[in-house]
């Protein structure tokens, strides 16, 4: 029973990490760094609340969050792929922009600079067999959890088994080779960033749907943790998802053990400690895509 509750908490915590880390592995494989994940997630969370607020329908909220994520991703793609600006700078700019923009919209629509009104959340489905498990059952029946599992598997197939994935990875390794084959480097890279935006938007929708509201700055650095997970997972969707589960488990453990005999200061360190240990010892050498962060300029190639 306790173990199932713990697993349920770990799973819930890792959902937003996993969605964003999956997105990150797609855009980075295409050669674009996306530290804007944090801001995209924040915009997605607000978009969910606006969509659900205006229509009263949680699925409309999901659609709005994906649209908001894609739109924010498009801004990043425009600045980094089209204008070939520095990718870190653009990402930082978008994160700052999202922090200010969400607060602005919040004050305009909900007349509060910290919280939105309460909106509907996604329903829980009751699955056969596993649905009866205490604690874990309801979590496995959450539509976004099921979707996340499907997206990770689908994302892995897309990157490593499909023609699109092969070409996208080419743009992250040797874009000039892709261009020689007559492929449009910018189009593939943009597609990678847009996919990533959609996924990070979905991650934001999860946060807002679980709370039934938006809170200023509610992503709380989760976008950056997702980036770390993606690196720990060696730029692969399955690896990233495993790392996210590990991070989620560390955080759930920290929450469960608090108030017991352990000194709290040590417990608060736990998730970070796990990250450092895994990065330092267990995963071996992680190699980034060769052309990561380098804008592709056909005239220089």
């Amino acid at each position: 029973m306790d173990l199932l509750l713990f697993l349920a908490a770990a799973l819930r915590i890792s959902v937003p990490y996993t969605l964003a880390a999956l997105g990150a592995s797609i855009n980075e494989r295409g050669g674009v760094i996306n530290i804007a994940l944090e801001g995209i997630m924040l915009n997605g969370a607000l978009a969910y609340v606006l969509g659900a607020w205006w229509t009263g329908n949680a699925w409309a909220g999901i659609a709005a969050a994906v649209a908001g994520g894609v739109a924010t991703g498009a801004l990043h793609a425009l600045v980094t792929v089209r204008f070939r600006a520095d990718q870190i700078t653009s990402g930082l700019g978008i994160n700052l922009l999202a922090a200010g923009l969400t607060k602005f919209v919040l004050t305009q629509v909900f007349h509060s600079s910290s919280n939105s009104a309460r909106v509907v959340g996604l329903p829980d489905w009751r699955l056969p067999v596993v649905g009866g498990l205490p604690g874990l059952g309801p979590v496995l029946g959450t539509p976004l959890v099921l979707l996340t599992i499907a997206l990770v598997l689908g994302g892995h197939w897309l990157l490593f088994r499909s023609v699109f994935g092969l070409r996208l990875r080419t743009m992250g390794e040797r874009p000039e080779a892709g261009a020689t084959l007559g492929l449009r480097v910018a189009a593939y890279r943009t597609a990678g960033v847009l996919l990533s935006g959609a996924l990070a938007g979905l991650a934001g929708a999860w946060l807002a749907s679980e709370q039934h509201s938006f809170t200023d700055g509610m992503t709380g650095g989760r976008g950056y943790i997702a980036l770390a997970a993606m690196i720990v997972g060696k730029w692969t969707p399955l690896g990233a998802a495993a790392a996210c589960l590990l991070f989620g488990a560390a955080e759930a453990l920290q929450i469960t053990l608090q108030g017991a005999a352990f000194p709290n200061e040590v417990l608060q360190m736990l998730p970070y400690l796990v990250t450092m240990l895994v990065l330092a010892g267990f995963i071996g050498r992680a190699t980034a895509p060769r052309a990561i962060g380098v804008p592709y300029d056909p005239e220089e190639a």
């Binding site: 509750l5 908490a9 819930r12 915590i13 937003p16 801004l75 425009l78 600045v79 204008f83 070939r84 600006a85 520095d86 700078t89 653009s90 930082l92 700019g93 978008i94 994160n95 700052l96 922009l97 922090a99 200010g100 923009l101 607060k103 602005f104 919040l106 004050t107 909900f110 007349h111 509060s112 600079s113 910290s114 919280n115 604690g135 946060l207 679980e210 709370q211 039934h212 509201s213 809170t215 200023d216 700055g217 509610m218 709380g220 650095g221 955080e251 759930a252 929450i255 469960t256 608090q258 108030g259 709290n264 200061e265 608060q268 804008p295």
Partner: protein, 342 residues
């Protein structure tokens, strides 16, 4: 400048300009003529206006002062960064005679500004006193005896728990929040010596006050560990605790202001901190020429802290329980019980 640099610069400029756009402009008028209304400036804490809590209470105090005393006020909201000092400086230099900083985060900045602007009066809600700290004559530290209010809601929880286990969720783990925990714990133990208190904190940085996702996990965890009532002192993080109470059909206790509307039927009461009273009282005294620098403490006796009992939660609290908590309140006011603050 190449097109790509230009685009990046534009994106950054937009990002920086937006948060500023949401704050209200401060008037630049210099020291007003004699007989003119008192000019009060106030800078909000993290969370800002509409937090249904701390900041809104401070604003309510300003509005009441404007209505009843006819003062003028300007408010500023800061963004994510460390622009609290800049905002207060803007108000102090812009002609405000009394400048409020809402929240302990203002402590260092306000101490320095009080030195720099000796003719402007400053007040800081929840100012953190360091050992051996002497306040300048133009600075007032507004402190609350959170432990006294927390003691009472702790007693309430201790009298009403059916599982003999109650919970506490704190935001950032700092002495200020430990005061809530200590008072709460003592109140629980007073009425129910065998009751257990499960305590969890959201983190060790300021963002621990605005992470409802974490708050919900902390709440779910405490409820699953057997607590049936949770008191939160964690700002917006506590919204997640209310979500957990809704989901598992348990009870939660709000903080700072009346949070009964956050989860109707699941809010046992709220431990209120009357920031509005503190702000109003200080403005009233300043206007009457009775300014006195130093520490001003608001406890149960000063009606600076308390707990909510009204039509919405009357059904949850039987009359004998209410009477017992009220008698504890009288004991504290009379000084016969001292609520511990650590």
């Amino acid at each position: 400048m190449s097109p790509r640099r230009l685009a990046a610069a534009a994106a950054l400029a937009a990002a920086v300009a937006l948060p500023l756009a949401c704050s209200q402009p401060a008037s630049r008028a210099k020291s007003p003529a004699a007989g003119a209304p008192l000019r009060v400036g106030l800078v909000f804490d993290v969370g800002g206006r509409g937090d249904k809590s701390f900041n809104d209470a401070a604003y309510a105090g300003l509005e009441r002062a404007k209505r009843e005393l006819g003062i003028d006020f300007v408010t500023l909201e800061t963004g994510e960064g460390n622009d609290r000092e800049a905002a207060m400086r803007q108000l102090a230099a812009g002609g405000s005679q009394l400048v409020f900083g809402v929240g302990f985060l203002f402590t260092d900045d306000i101490r320095n500004l009080a030195k720099e602007f000796p003719d402007v009066k400053f007040a800081c809600v929840d100012y953190t006193l360091q050992p051996g700290d002497t306040l300048l004559p133009n600075l007032v530290a507004l402190k609350f005896k959170e432990e006294e209010g927390s003691y009472l809601v702790g007693a309430l929880a201790g009298l009403l728990t059916k599982t003999h286990k109650v919970g506490f969720v704190g935001g950032m783990e700092i002495p200020l929040i430990k005061k809530f925990e200590a008072g709460y714990r003592a109140g629980v133990q007073k009425v129910c010596p065998r009751c257990e208190v499960v305590v969890k904190y959201a983190g060790t940085t300021g963002s621990a006050f605005k992470d409802p996702t974490k708050g919900k996990e902390l709440g779910l965890s405490e409820y699953h560990q057997g607590a049936d009532i949770i008191f939160h002192a964690s700002g917006s993080t506590g919204l997640g605790v209310f979500e957990a109470a809704r989901e598992l059909d348990r009870l939660a206790i709000g903080v700072d202001s009346d949070q009964g509307d956050e989860a109707p039927g699941h809010v046992l009461t709220s431990m209120v901190k009357r920031v509005d009273t503190a702000v109003f009282d200080l403005i009233r005294d300043t206007r009457a020429g009775q300014w006195q620098g130093g520490v001003r403490v608001f406890g149960l006796a000063e009606h600076g802290v308390g707990w909510v009992y009204d039509d919405r939660n009357r059904g949850l609290i039987p009359a004998p329980v209410k009477a017992e908590v009220d008698s504890l309140e009288r004991e504290i006011v009379a000084g016969r019980i001292v609520a511990p603050d650590q």
